[in-house]
Structures are given as C-alpha cells and as structure tokens.
Symmetry: C2
Subunit: 391 residues, 2 copies
Amino acid sequence: MANLPFTHAEYTTRLAKTRAAMAIRGLDAVFITDPSNMGWLTGYDGWSFYVHQGVLLTHEGEPVWWGRDMDVNGAIRTTYLNSDNIVGYEDSYVQNPVKHPMEDLSALIRARGLECATIGLEMDNYYFTASAFVTLQRELPNVRFDDATGLVNWQRAVKSPTEIDYIRRAARIVERMHGIIRERAAPGICKHDLIADIYHASICGADGHWGDYPAMVPMAPSGVDATAPHLTWDDRPMRVDENTFFEIAGAYRRYHCPQSRTVYLGKPPQKFYDAEKAVVEAIEAGLEQARPGNHAEDIAIAFNTRLNQLGFVKDSRCGYAIGMSYPPDWGERTISFRRGDKTVLEPGMTFHFMPALWLDEGGLEITEPILITETGVECFCQTPRELFVKE
Amino acid sequence: MANLPFTHAEYTTRLAKTRAAMAIRGLDAVFITDPSNMGWLTGYDGWSFYVHQGVLLTHEGEPVWWGRDMDVNGAIRTTYLNSDNIVGYEDSYVQNPVKHPMEDLSALIRARGLECATIGLEMDNYYFTASAFVTLQRELPNVRFDDATGLVNWQRAVKSPTEIDYIRRAARIVERMHGIIRERAAPGICKHDLIADIYHASICGADGHWGDYPAMVPMAPSGVDATAPHLTWDDRPMRVDENTFFEIAGAYRRYHCPQSRTVYLGKPPQKFYDAEKAVVEAIEAGLEQARPGNHAEDIAIAFNTRLNQLGFVKDSRCGYAIGMSYPPDWGERTISFRRGDKTVLEPGMTFHFMPALWLDEGGLEITEPILITETGVECFCQTPRELFVKE
C-alpha cells in the first residue's frame, strides 16, 4: 500500500477542481508532465522526471500514470492508482534518437478512445519538450491539442489545511538552517563546509519532522558574486568585510518553505544598512496589503513605492506562489507579485515574498514566506528580519 | 574575471568541434538550452535553468549567452564572454502567460542577421519547451529550424585530461560517501539521518577538493520500495533483514562520478548472494569488452550473456555516458550500453556501467564508473565490488 501524504478525499477534491477547469476550457483530457502536478494529482513521487512521463486525466475514472517500465513499481508504491492505470513503456525508448516515447503515449491515447479528442498539454511547463509535442502531433493527427500550461498549477493556489501543515514543518526546517548559518558563518570558514552543514540540517529536519530535498540547491554567493542571484557555492573562505546571501528552503514531503537572509562579516558600509532599512520598511508596507480581496500587484506596488521613497529600486517581481515542487524550481509558476498581476488574494494562498536587492556592491536578500489568512497575513517563519551582522 | 574551470584553449577546441558538427549538418547556428551544454561551451554556471535561457552559436565570433536580466551578472561572473555577447531579457517575461521570452530571443536572432538562417534547436534536450518552439516558429517565419538534439552532447563524449581529473576528484568523493554508508548503516538508523550524513560528505568533498551538488539527489529505497529504482528517502528506520540500495554520485565543478552499492542488514537470503555473484561476474564480462574499437553494445551483450547464464535477466540498458551535468540527470544522454548501440569506444570516454537488478524482493545495485583508456578500461573507484552485508 502506498504511503500517501494526503487522504483519498483530498485527491478526489483535486481531481474535481481540475476537471472543472478542463470543462471550462472545453478539454476532454489533459496530459500532465510537470512533476509537481503529477504528484499533486496522484501522489506519484520519484526522481524519474529525467525521462518522459506524465499523467493522463479525462473526465471519468482514475488518472492514468504513464512512464518508463522500470518506474511502474515506483508508481505502484507511491500513488493511489489501480495497476490498470499504471502503464509503462519499453526501455529502448529512453534517450534513443530513432524512436520517441511519445509514440508509445500516442498508442495509449488511442487505446483509451481519445484519438479524436481535445487534449490539453502543458506546453510551457517543465519536461515537456518540443520533440514530445511534434511527435504527438505527428502520431495523433485527429487530436486537437490545446495549451494547458499552468491549468493544474492554478488549482493548487489555495492550500488545504494539511498542505499548510506541511509548509509549517518546512518552515521549522528553514529557521533551523538560518540558525546554523548565523552560528557558524565566520571569516575563514570555507563556503562548501558551511553549505554541507546547512544541507545536513535541512535533511535531519526539525521539530520532529524529517527533511525532503528542496527543489533548488542553496544559492550562497559572496561579495561581487552576490550581485548575481543564482550562483551556488565553491570552496573559497568567507572573508571580513564581505556579504553573503543564503537563498535556501526547508522541504517536507515536497512542500517548500523558502527564506533568504544575508550575512555581513565585519562592519557593513552605510549603504548596506540603508538598504536593509529600506527593504524591511518596504516589506512591512507590502505585508499591509497582503489580505483576502486585494490583488497580488497591490503587495508589489506598496513594496516598490516605499522602496523608491527610501532611494532604492527593484525592477524584477518581488514574490511568487509556493507549495509542492520538484527541481528545477520551488515556485508554483502562477501568481507573481508584480504590477499587472490582478490575481485576487484568498485565504490559504502561500507565497515567497522575495524582495531581493542586487546592488552594485552585492546582494541583500531578506525574504518572508507568507500565508494569506482569513483576515490578513501570517509569516511562516520567526527568523529575525534583519541583515545578520557578525563583527 | 570569471574563475573558469578550463583554459581558453579548451573552450576554443570545444567551439571548433561543435562548429564542425554544425557544418556537417548544414546549420548556420544552434540555439543551446541544455544547461550542461551551455556550461561546456561558455563556462556558464548558475541555477537559472528554471527560466528560459540559452546560448546562440554561429560559425563566427563568440557564442552569445541569452537569459533573464538578473542573470546577466551571473554570466559575467562565470563565462569568458565579452559583455556584448551577454544579453538579458526583461523580467516581465518570466512566467507570464501573456508574453513569452522567446519573443525576445527572436528579436536577438533578427538583430544578429539570422532571420533567414538554418538554426538547430535542442528539440528533446531539457528545458526547451513546446511553447518555446511554437513561439520561435511564429516569430521567425523565414528561419529553417532543424533538430539538433544531442549535437553538443556528442562533442562531449571524449573527455580532456582536465575533465578526467575532475571526474577523478568526484570519484574520491563518492568513495567517501560509500565509506560513510558502510560505517553508519545499521538497524534503527532513520534513513533521512543517514542521507544527511551522505550529503554532508558529498559537499565537504574528499582528498582536498570540495564537492559540488550532484545532478540527482540520493536514491535510497529499502525492502520492497527498492523494487522501484527512483524513490528517494523518508524517515523510516533501517531494519534487520532488509536491503537498501544507494544510488549516489560525487560531483566536482559539475563533473560527476556516480556509483551505487547495496547494503543488507542481517543475513541475506541466498537469492541475494546469487544475484551478487551473477552481477559481479557479468560486470567482469562486460569490462573485458570495454576497450577502444569495440562498440558500446559489446559491453551490454557480454554483460547480459553472462547474467543470463547465471539465471538472471535485465531488460533495461546497463550503462550510459557521464561527465558534466545539471539536474535532472547526471547522464550525458548520448551513448547507452544496450544492444543496437554501435558507438565505437574511444580513449577518454567515460561511462556509468550501471547493471542494476530490480528483483521481486528488492533491488541490487553494484555499479562502476569507468574510463576507456588507450588499451582497455579503468574503474574510477576502489569501492569494494560487493553487496555490503552487515550482520
């Protein structure tokens, strides 16, 4: 029996929400390749997204898990699906230039009576390649394909109580990771040794709960490297008069709680204190707008207005939806905190309010994972909202 | 100045090899999205592949790195490219259903005079989505697009001496990780605590070299879960009379040395000893065929023949090329050890000889990362080639 992270009733609700969205779009079926959507719909959990796989969902019956033969056992072990609805393809399709796994999927689609259906594809989600699309078009000339990018992701925006509990468990983990950074960062410590300690904490977990792998590895650049947001680590020692930001997440059963903080070793230049003050005040201004009924953009506008008043500018989005995820991204790829995003905030939505500044001298990341409540907002973490200075 | 992992001369050689392959295929340019190919051609190293990005290479001049505005600094910090050849797109393109980053890339392609060119696309490599392709087709009606899946990957098959050195450093790391498993696996140890220790070792590194993040997380299922190859971990304690396989890799500057071993706590049933004997003998038979001039399939045929003689069957490929990689796969996605793969083995090629057996009772993984030498084969690791039994 699969050890499912949610009740059958919760999966039933998810399928119903997804089918309602499919009906509005006139879709007979969707083929879902985003691993987080596959997991959210069926429970499937395995590192097999490096080969073609997916979930086929129609309006009737269970979804169908389809993937590589050797991963059928993984689907049996992690989903609620009957074995009739777990279908494998032969191993010679794997990374073989003369044949494509989507030929096998096409046969399945025909076998399920969908050869003239309207089928939604996640055209811009992860792991659905251009070749996959071209092969399906060639093999299924009478299917009408429609773009269903994000269709399932949007159903995930409002979290259930169990999902929120899982994010809270992840929050305890990321708090612990930041505690370790605060304790151990020091001049002369090699970056990779500190990262090793952070990883160790993230998997040991916190508060009695184990840690899953986050969908991104720690980003931890120092000094001028920290003008770039997505560099990882190397073996250089941390130095006096240098800043390092740590963009990390705790994860529990694929649910993420990301949070970033910045460490300064030595006495920071006034510019860093000014930036810290501006970001913290602008976060407060943003949080005041974080409540049901407001729009996602209201948070960004309040944040940017206050930030600009204090002499700083940020020209990228300052937040995004979070929840269940697999590499390469712990975001949910739906709602963004930026001007023009008119999504109405609802209780149960979860975000990484991520107002990072990348200054000429280095980066300052002080961020807050948040939950929209019935009346306003709750920050998931108690990590002190400040630049960590170790003189 | 970027801290490049290879000399300029080595990058020049890589560009020349790639351009020769482009010329044979009649390509004026290629647009490369696979992060490992981007890094191999330019040095680029950042966890930014969760948004659209790529490298545009023609027959003249430097490649062009193209990506999100905020990642321009990362490209400046990690590549040898002049800033003219590092081009960012505006942040509002990110995960925005009303516009697509490939519209911006199309403008760049026009600006570089390629609006009527023949351009190769990595149609089935990672992170090049169906939407990306459809958008490029729409925006560039006079470009002839051709499938260049794997074109760069194939240029990477024979490793340079520096690349081999990096894999050797990764080999020392994975040996150390297996040493820790051997030392600490015991009844009652919670799986996640052991995984935390393995991770810690992988990043602390070995033999004076730091550890980078492997492109896959450890896979470590126990008992019946180990009939499935790609499950990760949870918090259940390890138990007596249970097997667990550990599919892990060391990584140094994105170069991987994967190796798997299996631990049995208690006294294994005879079936496990039989399987161990069969796999070890079949590995020896395969290794005898691993030499320059032979075909990739020769290793698989020798392996499978001996395995079948000893009463076991494996119906999936038993090895693949390895080298530089990013998530979600540490394989190079070119050569496979399986019947029909007629690739001629050459000195400097590197593989994960990966003859895992997934039996009804659980998995047995005893694998060897190997280097084809001038005269035969070398195993990268000294990890004992056996089932680890801890009674």
